[in-house]
Symmetry: C2
Subunit: 138 residues, 2 copies
DNA sequence: CAATAATTGCACTTCCATTGCAAGTATTAG
DNA sequence: CTAATACTTGCAATGGAAGTGCAATTATTG
């Protein structure tokens, strides 16, 4: 088990207080977060810093971006050993129409999608919408 | 074969010059269009009118919205007999990373996606990204 | 300790989406 | 046919998210 410091260093990112805090915040959340969520969690920090921190994380494949169709970009920590660099987002994402939260279903891989002759598939974004386990009351 | 006038009337939309023109524009395009595309095609009309026309079409299930991950909403005419109201976007969408165009693959239905216990799937958004038939040169 | 490099904060910008309100146009009732 | 009413269109303004230039601060290195 690596410490957060070790994770950052292994990706050639300097360890700063801000980065540790944001990493912890993401790790504690079991759902994908928006920049605005992070802003509300760290009101003292500047928006730009938060923005650039998450962008750094994204570049270095510490987080991946999720477009769940709400129009607002969300982010979630990559799984240990996730290969975002090679094939983006192999797992599917679930967006709850009730609580409006989006979560990674890391265990659920995206099935092979057939495309017509002449088309070349490079990657796939798949978002399932519906009611999440918490909201469905089971 | 219905005329455009008949299509609009059947959906309780008043026939206006603007609406006929925009409908025709969408019908002639084989790709999904942005509001900005429509704006460029109708420079004399006000942006708001174009916006509200497309929103009216969307409400009445004449067009469907496509979120292809570019951050800009696109629209495309619904197929004849499409059931947007009931289950949104059964077909998949393809976004070309080369020409930046998005098309409906109406023949390609989205496969059944399994979700974990407790989750209820209501609809699915699936966008495949890659190279389209025109750009792949076949 | 000084030089250098990276990070952070502030201010500003751009782009798309959306709304209030007034003016114009079509529809309906008398 | 005319007046009242409903709907459509245009203008102006707003809001929200994303992104950038630059200076100040902080950390790293020699
Ligand atoms: Mn994910
Ligand atoms: Mn479509
Ligand atoms: Zn929920
Ligand atoms: Zn193409």
């Amino acid at each position: 088990m690596q410490t957060i410091e070790q994770v950052l260093e292994s990706k050639d990112i300097r360890v700063t207080a801000m980065r540790l805090l944001i990493y912890k915040f993401l790790a504690e959340k079991e759902v994908a977060v928006t920049l605005s969520d992070i802003e509300h969690a760290f009101v003292k920090a500047d928006r730009t810093t938060l923005y650039r921190t998450i962008k750094t994380f994204e570049e270095k494949d510490i987080v991946h971006q999720i477009d769940d169709g709400t129009g607002i970009t969300k982010y979630a920590l990559c799984e240990n050993g996730c290969n975002c660099e090679i094939e983006t987002d192999l797992h599917l994402h679930f967006h709850c129409n009730n609580c409006n939260e989006t979560i990674c279903l890391t265990e659920h891989k995206i099935p092979q999608i057939k495309v017509p002759e002449g088309f070349v598939s490079e990657n796939v974004n798949l978002v399932v919408k519906g009611i999440c386990d918490k909201c469905s009351g089971q």
